[in-house]
Symmetry: C2
Subunit: 367 residues, 2 copies
């Protein structure tokens, strides 16, 4: 048997802020929570209609194995798992199979540097499942073959496995000088990100195709951009990343750190669009797309103050910013960031939030 894990050189860059404090991801992920709420009825419908009771051979002796890929500290994962397990039990009830409810075995996955201690301590004390944590990159295999009955991933596939190498290479046409993301950058930068995203989703699907049983369902929630690939980018989150980048450049110009420090930092985040994601998934022959829905502005009513938005960005990006720029400059950076956001009411008007969430339900086909 060969090794089942590959260690990324970017370990640790991807963890959200741990713990439960002011800047923790746990306290600053209402946007992601909104996505789960918006997806609830569709996930319930698909489980009711598509869960393959016979193929999964659900019996009292075989547990029903569920995994959440990219669970962070669990605060949006637990409600999702609740929705999924309730929908499965309802389906079994409808089939008259209540006497043979399976035991639920739920696996919470995130990067090795995720705060699993907080995740575990946040588990609902009264729960209808056996819980386990699984550390590691979901771009690699994490489970035995044909082990999982249901896979779920929300607000996670937008995280790339790595920053595309070209964008930090000053010899490359895609060098992203003076910026930290593709928003407002050269077309070559955007293409490097887009290409990395396609590669990452392919790796994710290949690993899941091995891990899911035939007939197993997968629900993916992917934050995205409504615009198509070639129509230009104009959407909330990446532009806010542009503001964050401009704050870093302001600090570089003041000599707090070098401009080169900013040139070599890029956020490993990509916002796909429905057409692009559909094309990537359809290239994979192991899954059949059962449903694809666009959820509009699922986080619209949350985080409308400059302070709330700055704190949200801090919860998400502080670990990787600290790794590159050091912890000393974080307070100043996010103070500058909050002030720039406050001075740009455009970002704070919920009606200007054009972000979308793509919900996709896939079924694992027979080999």
């Amino acid at each position: 048997m060969s090794s089942t894990t590959k260690q990324s050189s970017l370990l640790g860059l991807y963890a959200m802020n741990g713990g439960e404090g002011e800047y923790s991801y746990a306290q600053n992920s209402s946007y992601q929570g909104g996505a789960v709420d918006a997806a609830k009825s569709i996930i319930e419908e698909e489980i009711a209609a598509k869960l393959d009771i016979n193929q999964l051979s659900l019996t009292q002796t075989k547990p029903f194995n569920i995994a959440d890929f990219g669970c962070s500290t669990g605060h949006n994962s637990f409600p999702a798992i609740h929705i999924i397990t309730q929908a499965i039990e309802k389906r079994l009830l409808a089939e008259g199979l209540t006497t043979q409810n399976p035991e639920f075995h739920v696996f919470f996955n995130d990067q090795l540097m995720n705060d699993f201690n907080t995740l575990f301590q946040s588990l609902p004390p009264q729960r209808n499942f056996h819980a386990a944590g699984v550390p590691g990159s979901f771009h690699d295999r994490l489970f035995p073959k044909a082990f999982l009955d249901f896979a779920y991933s929300s607000c996670a596939l937008n995280w790339l496995s790595a920053v595309p190498e070209a964008v930090a290479d000053h010899m490359h046409p895609a060098w992203n000088k003076g910026k930290i993301h593709y928003a407002g950058a050269k077309q070559e930068v955007f293409e490097a990100y887009s290409s990395q995203f396609a590669h990452d989703v392919e790796s994710f699907l290949e690993a899941r195709a091995e891990e899911l049983v035939t007939g197993g369902l997968m629900a993916l929630l992917v934050p995205a951009d409504p615009a198509s690939k070639n129509s230009g980018t104009s959407f909330t989150s990446p532009t806010e990343m542009g503001v964050l980048g401009s704050c870093l450049m302001d600090m570089a110009k003041k000599g707090i750190f070098s401009e080169e420090k900013v040139d070599t930092f890029n956020l490993p985040l990509y916002y796909t669009n429905p057409q692009e994601l559909k094309a990537i998934i359809e290239k994979n022959s192991s899954f059949r797309m059962e449903r694809m829905e666009i959820l509009y502005s699922p986080g619209k009513r949350t985080l409308s103050s400059a302070k709330a938005r700055a704190t949200f960005f801090r919860a998400v990006f502080e670990v990787m910013l600290t790794n590159h720029f050091g912890s000393d400059v974080m307070d100043e950076l996010f103070d500058r960031y909050m002030k720039k956001l406050a001075a740009s009411p455009h970002f704070l008007d919920p009606d200007n939030d054009k972000s979308i969430m793509i919900l996709i339900i896939l079924k694992c086909k027979a080999e």
Copy 2:
């Protein structure tokens, strides 16, 4: 489905020191590591002779599920898992089944307050298994029915699920005034501990009987006292706990905290003896005892300086002592403890270490 977890009121008392620092359990558990080494050849022999290849229906599509109950931060767990997986592969090779090696799925269990972040970050980067962490008390159910093929637990069953209530109750004949353990205490105190231990081992075996497949093996390593229950207690560790208790009483007499504070603190640890443990296990009808061996002084050659022993005790007991007495007094406590040990060469002479380790191999019988 009912809840699968019960939260103990003593959560957090049981975690070893986390991290990798000077007082971490990771840096101070060579004694427990010695136990694994001593047990290696016996575990290998038993897997070679008793692993029920047919009953476990080992095939390429079914993973081989292994759990370690009480893994702490993993430093002694990983070598044990290596021994177990190697022995299983060797057995399959001997049976001519090399083409259908199963995938190993290994579950690392410990209390909810265990440092799982350190555990995960310590996982061997190149490994022949899929890893998962499982938080919770092993006195309760942690896995689906008939899920595990092999269970392992080392230096963990000596930890009680709780301090026996009677020993902290000043109205009870078993009140343990001025002491923190049963060593050198009244017979009633010893009996309260002994009774709690029997109850805990029964709960452990009942939970594992549900979780193990028929034919599944379980290897238990239990630190113990060679003396029988009624012949008096004279063994290293508990007497060292007596010294720790006397340091706490010295500090109480100096007014650093009240004597009542010491009266209400007791260590939830019990050292069984071979006869007692054998009798408890034989009461359980789900397991057949395949082998029982006594390993003498497995940690004999380690930790022979006063400083090393004091640091070992600190790694093990600091979390629960801090919870009760506060962190401010820890340095003074362990400084006093080291000095008392240094003044008692008896404790430091490896030849006076009469501790033993009981190794038991059990097989899960058909219902």
